[in-house]
């Protein structure tokens, strides 16, 4: 069904051999598309591609699969579960019209929510490519998506954090020290989530118990997760471990996911197993997915697509399983995919917008590596922009420094900064707990207490002597 797209500019006729090429060349500049050889050859070609893409009808994306239907279960998922009734009100629009429609006063939060299942990842990706950063922020802010397990994530005016207490040898006291630090800085409502240094079932079970014991002892309305492979988590559940959330890194093509060692059936099996434990108290969203532009190319599984389109296709996978959290780990992959602070910022805003538009509780690991052209100021900017856009959650880590994964992400302090400047609050159930424990004053002023709450002080006292 593919055909050539043409655009005449003065005496020059630009040609794009198919929809995939048009999408790729319309994408704002980034190093990963250059690496893949799909990037526009000039700034003018990119601008022309955007003009051409704006004239493509949304229906085209239902007729022209970017990855063949027969070869790819993600394409089949997108096509088979498309809701044509929800799509009907926008079925006549072009990509350019769709941008206008999204920005219009007609597209209220309620209307956008009714629309979700009619929008495919490719439509979201296409319109994002012709939106400016302020457009991505404005529309994302209108998309309200919330999810719940032991607390409620993503309510308007709220910003949650994943407390990430990683330790290079999974030392239990080292992990506990970072958990304490985070809790006393009001972090950890999205999840307390550990990337294990030793990635096997025995270790995962040990860490699950550690977090479960802490959550129970202090009656913290939050959930835990060990970010291990989905098949490991299934084994943990079979072994009787206290599994709250099921984690998996996902990509936007079947080949990417198969390189990650799972398929859609694996995710369904894990979701069923975890739901059978009935550990949620206010909701039953229990999948935690991570994504990031560049993963398909890195797995050599991108089918000639640009990295942002692949990324948004991963959201179709996420959407299928009603996740509690979806986290785009935007700057982790390195400068060969997102070169500098500018590219990371753009990608973070795109991912957040596309995820929200499709109905995902979208958070962002606002981060960079030391070989990228980025620094803390770039992270401050992106964090602030995402806060304004209504991002569901960000990471919280001691002093921005992940000593296990060797990259920098947002700190406990950073979360308090963005809450304070924007007036956003933690998940309501968690906020109540912060007040009750006298960690933070009530009234949403984000004032931390100077004293250590009694129960934590007692635990600290137990090690205080040993530290002398």
């Amino acid at each position: 069904m593919s055909h050539t797209y043409r655009y005449i500019l003065g005496s020059h006729t630009y040609q794009f051999k198919d929809l995939a090429e048009l999408m790729a060349k319309a994408t704002p500049q980034r190093s990963g598309d250059r690496l893949a050889g799909v990037i526009a050859q000039s700034a003018e070609e990119r601008a022309v591609a955007q003009l051409t893409l704006a004239d493509v009808t949304l229906k085209t994306f239902l007729n022209e699969a970017l990855v063949p239907y027969e070869e790819d279960e993600v394409t089949r998922l997108i096509m088979d579960e498309h809701d044509s009734a929800a799509f009907a009100p926008i079925a006549h629009l072009t990509v350019g019209d769709f941008r206008n429609w999204l920005l219009s006063d007609y597209a209220t939060s309620e209307v956008l929510a009714q629309m979700r299942q009619g929008i495919t990842p490719e439509m979201a990706a296409a319109v994002s490519k012709i939106m400016r950063n302020q457009d991505l922020i404005l529309v994302a802010k209108k998309c309200h998506v919330s999810s719940a397990f032991r607390n409620t994530i993503g309510l308007p005016g709220h910003l949650s954090t994943r407390l990430q207490p990683n330790h290079p040898t999974d030392d239990v006291n080292g992990i506990a020290a970072s958990i304490l630090d985070g809790l006393l800085y009001g972090n950890g409502d999205a999840v307390i989530g550990i990337n294990p240094a030793t990635d096997n079932v025995a270790q995962a079970i040990k860490l699950m118990h550690l977090m479960n014991d802490v959550i129970q002892k202090y009656a913290i309305p939050t959930q835990s997760c060990v970010l291990t492979h989905v098949t490991n988590t299934i084994e943990c559940i079979e072994a009787g471990a206290p599994v709250d959330l099921v984690f998996q890194s996902i990509g936007g093509t079947e080949a990417t996911n198969s390189s990650f060692g799972f398929n859609l059936a694996t995710l369904a099996e894990a979701q069923d197993a975890a739901q059978s434990l009935k550990r949620g108290t206010v909701g039953n969203n229990l999948m935690y997915f991570e994504t990031g532009q560049g993963s398909s190319l890195s797995a050599n599984a991108h089918h000639g697509l640009d990295q942002q389109t692949c990324e948004v296709r991963a959201y179709a996978v996420a959407r299928k399983f009603n996740p509690l959290l979806v986290n785009t780990v935007v700057g982790f992959i390195g400068p060969e995919y997102l070169f500098d602070g500018k590219e990371i910022t753009r990608a973070g805003l795109e991912d957040h917008f596309c995820g929200k538009l499709l109905g995902l509780p979208m958070g962002c690991d606002v981060c960079y590596t030391n070989h990228a052209e980025a620094d803390q100021n770039d992270m401050d900017n992106l964090l602030t922009l995402l806060g304004v856009a209504g991002c569901a959650f960000v990471m919280g880590i001691p002093g921005s420094d992940d000593i296990m994964l060797n990259y920098q992400t947002t700190s406990f302090h950073d979360a308090l900064y963005v809450r304070r400047v924007l007036g956003s609050r933690p998940a309501p159930e968690f906020e109540d707990w912060l007040h009750k424990m006298e960690i933070m004053g009530s009234g949403g002023k984000h004032v931390l207490s100077d004293a250590i709450p009694g129960p934590f002080a007692r635990s600290l006292k137990s090690v205080g002597g040993g530290l002398r």
Binding site: H167, I175, D181, T198, V214, H371, P398, N406, D450
Partner: protein, 315 residues
Amino acid sequence: MKKSTSKTSELIGSPKQKSHQENGKVVENPWSTLRSYTDARIGLGRAGISLPTSEMLGFQLAHAQARDAVNLPLDIETLREKLSTFSAGRDSQPARAAQTEPAKCCTPCPPIALHSQAYDRMTYLQRPDLGRKLNDASRNSLHRYMAEQGGEAELKHDLAIVIADGLSSLAVQQNAVPFIQNLVTLLQDDPQPWNLAPFTLVEQGRVAIGDDVGELLNAQVVLVLIGERPGLSSPDSLGLYLTWQPKTGLNDASRNCISNIRPAGLVYEEAARRALFLLREARRLKLSGVNLKDRTQDGVIENRAQNKNFLLSDE
């Protein structure tokens, strides 16, 4: 930038603690004592809800050091000189490595310097594909070596050790030679001998370049020592990748990795012990990668004391 943990335990949890410093209204965190358990930047204190000046500037210094580690070029000459102490070649001048015992001769000639197809750092950072391939001059050097040394017979090696700058030349500069000293000692004591290829030093190299080198040197196993992505608290992490029967085009599924080799991480002796285990197993099983398991850590989890931490104790 680890801060000293000088707070006294009396301060912990004391309601009467005087938490505001004399200058600047910084609130200190008494739990900073817990830094004895972790290098994580916990208990930093706060000015309002923000980082105190000293911590903020300390972070910037650490980031500057990590950035420098990425951009600092590998000092090939110094490394080559140090590694020459391992070679039997006539023209090698054993360097005066006074602090360590003199190495036994184990490689046939001094190290060979090579370069990837990524001609500079900017290209290297944006084109990982070029960092995985040797440039033509380097391929010719290896061909020439094989022809000169082998003559009529086909020259074979049991093991080729490739040293590549990767993302941290600092890691390589500081840790490659002491690690190799440890490993070579173990290899020389191994009942089944290891016939080593000359060391190769690769500039602007990524892990997979070891496949090119190993194949051209006709090596049964290749070990790549490479500077890892520098962390803020660990700009000097050295990584080790082992591949059985290296061949251009292999992927990560056929490699084994030992990470974080540095004095403050996985120490040389232990890293060398694990590397030897993997080398022997690779030779025994004739494979590497996902089916070659590092069993040196088995039992550690089971043997560890109770899963108790201070948050779960009550006085």
